[in-house]
Subunit: 264 residues, 2 copies
């Protein structure tokens, strides 16, 4: 039987998921009391969760000034992609001899499902690609049977997940990206580690190029620039209110005080 989670753990999981899913946008202020009320606990476990998220790099914590969802500069994101480009191809190569037929079939299904959903046309659903993509990479990385490396990767790969905007992909890049998945599956079936490694390298460098271009065009939501003079607008409200009631609190506050919105 799996041990009951503590309040702090629940808070940690929910906050992390909310950040990774983009419900808490980069730069959003994380007030302790507000989060505590939402989660139905006191400030103590919330503080603990924020500390741990800060250590994970998902939250920036400034003493006496509170916590906000971490923001990333383009340079930092490039660094992350560099790191992925070093690690993931290696893990992919290691996964090749480990993968069973069932494993490969599963990845195959995910890869083709992604191609279906990502195909241009009325059925296209770019947001649905995000969890599938996460699944694909997670499975592959796990297959390598190298938990320490995988953990290291996961600890660093968070930022780009936040900026996991498939909307930033142009038509050609998206097609390439989805084709890479399928090709990696083919390499797995063929039992060719170097093939798999090469495709994964291309896959990540393709993604990196998309990110860089999107950043240049200011398409990515990186949050307020790091050393920016704090503008009034940093106080934008947390999240789409409706998607965030992890516990039914009996707080029918009449109208959330509507703070000011984006800078023009």
């Amino acid at each position: 039987m799996t041990r009951a989670l503590t309040s702090a753990e629940r808070a940690l999981d929910m906050l992390r998921e909310a950040i990774l899913r983009g419900e808490l946008p980069a730069g959003a202020r994380l007030g302790e009391v507000e989060l505590a009320e939402r989660l139905g606990v006191s400030r103590t476990p919330v503080r603990e969760a924020l500390s741990r998220l800060a250590a994970e790099g998902l939250v920036q914590l400034v003493p006496n000034r509170g916590a906000r969802v971490a923001t990333w500069t383009v340079d930092e994101l490039e660094g992350v992609f560099e790191l992925r480009a070093l690690i993931e191809p290696q893990l992919t190569a290691l996964a090749v001899p480990q993968a069973t037929v069932a494993d490969v079939d599963e990845l195959d299904a995910v890869a083709h499902e992604m191609q279906r959903i990502g195909a241009p046309g009325p059925g296209q659903d770019l947001d649905a690609l995000v969890p599938l993509n996460r699944t694909f990479h997670d499975r592959l990385v796990t297959l390598a049977g190298h938990p320490a490396l995988a953990a290291a990767l996961a600890g660093v790969v968070h930022p780009p997940i936040v900026v996991r905007n498939f909307h930033a992909y142009d038509e050609a890049s998206l097609r390439r990206s989805l084709a890479h998945h399928v090709e990696i599956v083919a390499a797995l079936r063929a039992g060719d580690p170097e093939w798999a490694r090469a495709v994964m390298t291309a896959h990540i460098r393709n993604a990196r190029a998309v990110m860089v271009r999107a950043a240049a065009a200011n398409v990515l939501d990186l949050g307020p620039a790091r050393p920016a003079s704090r503008t009034r607008a940093e106080n934008r409200v947390l999240a789409p209110e409706k998607s965030w009631h992890p516990r039914e609190t009996e707080h029918p506050r009449e109208t959330e005080h509507p703070r000011e919105k984006e800078t023009p």
Copy 2:
């Protein structure tokens, strides 16, 4: 002026240093009240520090059962070395065009000092190598000007620092290791990134081999094995008592209750 640190930050820094310096051995139990007394604060900031260290992977935190200094399996340590072998050569290569003459001179001094201190004979002081080694690698990694990658590396490199036992090196491996440092400096001076990358790769794989061999011989202090049935001996006392009074507490406890010692 640098902002004053909070109690939790002080606790975090002292705990991390104590763990990295080996004063708190792997597997040591970390009682909240005991740490709080030592640091002269209440349990709250201690708990916060432990949470963050847990997120960093230096501490294992089990709900309702307390915290202990993290232990690592040989597999995990190998994973860390694999990761270093992927990242550090890359950072070293990047550092080559960035390094100024002054930078290289400094690294040169460190490398030669290490050779002097590590040379066999009466002047040899293996423990003094540890901080110098840390300095050398930190400087080099910083020079690459790639903070994100460097941070990722630092977040993962902790475990081997704990097992930073230069005593595990045999004569030949140690000589090689120290020679590598000097050779890397030479590559920096020559402005040859590929040379530097290659030597760093060799350097890390050499260290990895030492670690694996030492682990096989059970020389490394990895702490109690991970899934081990908890033996009574896990309760061994924290640290060499004398080296650990970061604040003079007025607790002249007559005799620390002498718990039982190692398993035979």
